[in-house]
């Protein structure tokens, strides 16, 4: 019998206690990973969406708590366009709107005649023309709505005809609908207003030139924030709050996992006082007894962490498949948080085991042997 074999036997031969603790740790880790996956997925979806459109800079209203609250005049595009180094500017109105009775999806009002949108990757159909109430659906959204070319869908309770299916690669774009900007402005009662401007630069790889454009755009109005695609959601407070909430819940879940292990091992030490007395009586040193309890804690935590990592991944997939499919948010499967979570679980398992291990090592053999 090897040392790990002994630890495993002690756990396996108490299947009830071990499996319930393992499940508790696994649930905490799975929750942690799903939350961080959603949070990261939101950021990744936004970045991928903008990158897919070939955007270099995004201009929004500064200090908005909620992404869609940004409200800028469409004519500001003319001022931006005049700044040296700007190749193209396009306003976009964005909203999360009801589709039919039960679904919601991200809807973009795009200036379809402008350069970034000339090459929408249509897999079927065409771009909508002015006045026809036409809509392009991302492929994932079309599947979720069971819609195709010619289908009429209710958008904000108004009928729109599907004229194109976009073969976007990013989850956000795949899950969204695109209208002509003027039609979405009319639908929302926000004529002449946009949520953001998307810019392409003449020298996008030149950082100095890009920063010069940012400074020039920022100087146009005091309430503007100019971001590269990777920064867009970082400057958004609602996303920051979501990320902070996710982080807080995740940390709470991990701490709960540690406390669960602590509780389990304290109970185990209480329950096994007599056994520990036997071990001390037959010559087991304090450190060996500490090693036994710590080892069991770490194995439980590692097994729970690994189970949780797998469950978190599968849970994320299920959440995406059944809840987030048409939201434009993908669950980003991340190896680093999974490894971090398992390492944290093992660390917390070790921490949770320290007190019971110390308690066990302090037991007097005679007192322990008297207990049953």
């Amino acid at each position: 019998m090897t040392w790990p074999g002994l630890l495993l036997r002690n756990l396996v031969r108490r299947p009830g206690r071990s499996s319930f603790t393992l499940l508790g740790v696994a649930l905490a880790i799975a929750g942690f990973l799903t939350l961080t996956g959603v949070s990261k997925g939101l950021r990744d979806a936004s970045q991928a969406s903008l990158r897919e459109r070939g955007i270099d800079l995004v201009v929004m209203q500064r200090g908005m708590v909620e992404f869609f609250s940004s409200n800028l005049p469409e004519i500001l595009a003319d001022d931006i366009r005049r700044i040296p180094g700007v190749a193209s500017v396009s306003g976009e109105l964005g909203a999360l709107l009801p589709f039919g009775e039960d679904n919601h999806a991200l809807v973009g009002g795009w200036q379809l005649d402008n350069r970034p949108f000339e090459a929408i990757p249509l897999i079927r159909g065409r771009l909508p023309v002015a006045g026809e109430h036409g809509v392009i659906l991302g492929q994932v959204l079309a599947e979720a709505l069971h819609a195709d070319i010619g289908t009429t869908v209710l958008l904000q309770f108004s009928p729109f005809k599907v004229v194109g299916i976009g073969g976007f690669t990013s989850p956000a774009n795949s899950g969204m609908a695109v209208l002509r900007l003027a039609e979405l402005q009319a639908l929302l009662g926000r004529p002449g207003r946009v949520t953001l401007f998307q810019m392409q630069l003449t020298r996008p790889d030149n950082i100095a030139a890009r920063e010069a454009v940012r400074a020039a755009v920022s100087a146009l109005r005091p309430d503007l924030v100019v971001s590269v695609p990777d920064e867009v959601l970082k400057t958004n407070r609602s996303v920051a709050m979501l990320a902070a909430s996710s982080a807080a819940i995740s940390v709470a879940a991990l701490v709960m996992a540690g406390l669960l292990i602590l509780n389990t091992l304290v109970m185990a030490v209480e329950e096994r006082t007599h056994e520990i007395g036997i071990l001390a009586a037959i010559g087991w040193s304090r450190w060996r007894i500490v090693g036994l309890i710590l080892g069991e804690g770490v194995i439980l935590a590692a097994a729970g962490g690994l189970t949780g990592a797998i469950a978190g991944h599968l849970g994320g997939l299920a959440l995406y498949r059944f809840v987030l499919l048409d939201s434009g948010i993908a669950i980003t499967v991340q190896l680093a948080p999974a490894i971090t979570a398992v390492v944290c679980a093992v660390g917390l398992g070790g921490l949770g085991a320290i007190y019971p291990a110390w308690k066990a090592s302090r037991l007097s053999p005679t007192a322990a042997l008297r207990q049953r």
């Binding site: 019998m1 090897t2 040392w3 074999g5 002994l6 036997r9 002690n10 031969r13 108490r14 007599h274 056994e275 036997i278 071990l279 001390a280 009586a281 037959i282 010559g283 087991w284 040193s285 304090r286 060996r288 053999p365 005679t366 042997l369």
Partner: protein, 239 residues
């Protein structure tokens, strides 16, 4: 040839007392005792006379309230030193078996060998050899609750012998056993002593048959030694 009693003591108790409950209960009073290599000692006396306390003090599981316990040249060893001694040089057979319920008979023997030289295969091999010696090798894969009382006792003795101790302390090894099994255990202990080439045995017992066969008999009464006789010379190494 030097008589065993004149040889340096393996264990020595000097005016040792052990009390409980703030001195209201006196388990052992002012006991002075030397135990030498190769002796086969029976400790007997009425219930409550201090026999188990004496065994616990000899193994370092308990610390005396007053007096000095020495193991060879170690005077009043620390708790850690006693633990190390129990791991290598002192074997213990408990009255109520004290086998770990989640481990098999073989694993219960192996567990006392953790920390000693040799890997898992060595531990396994020695455990099975000891169980073979005890006549229960065929029961090595069973857990304590699946063994009979006699088999548990044999497994407990095998565990006590696992690290080839110089002294084996057994607390009432025939208690809770039927007479035939008890006799078999007594024969086994004497056989081990014969084959043990100098292994010292201290057996706490009420069993007259066992007491009569021991080379030295110590009788306790109310925590004090009232009789200490040797009738048969203890085993001693050849000159």
């Amino acid at each position: 040839m030097m008589p065993a009693a004149a040889a340096p003591a393996l264990l020595h108790l000097e005016r040792v007392s052990r009390t409980y409950d703030g001195g209201r209960i006196v388990a052992l009073r002012d006991v002075t005792l030397s135990i030498h290599l190769g002796e086969f000692i029976a400790v007997h006396g009425q219930s409550g006379s201090g026999k188990s306390t004496l065994i616990n003090l000899l193994s370092g599981i308990e610390i005396p309230t007053s007096g000095v316990v020495s193991f060879e040249h170690l005077v009043s060893p620390s708790a850690a030193a006693w633990t190390a001694l129990r791991g290598r040089r002192i074997g213990i057979v408990f009255q109520d078996f004290n086998l770990l319920p989640t481990l098999t008979a073989a694993e219960n023997v192996e567990i006392s060998m953790f920390g000693q030289p040799g890997g898992a295969a060595v531990r396994r091999g020695r455990a099975l050899a000891l169980l073979e010696d005890m006549g229960i090798a065929h029961r090595s894969g069973l857990r304590p609750q699946e063994l009979s009382g006699g088999e548990r006792r044999r497994a407990g003795i095998a565990r006590g012998l696992a690290n080839r101790p110089e002294i084996l302390l057994a607390d009432e090894p025939t208690s809770n056993l039927d007479s035939a099994t008890g006799q078999a255990i007594i024969d086994l202990l004497f056989d081990l002593h014969q084959r043990g080439h100098g292994m010292t045995m201290v057996i706490v017992s009420h069993d007259p048959a066992l007491i009569a066969r021991c080379s030295r008999r110590i009788r306790l009464l109310d925590g004090a030694i009232v009789e200490d006789t040797s009738t048969v010379p203890a085993w001693r190494p050849a000159a």
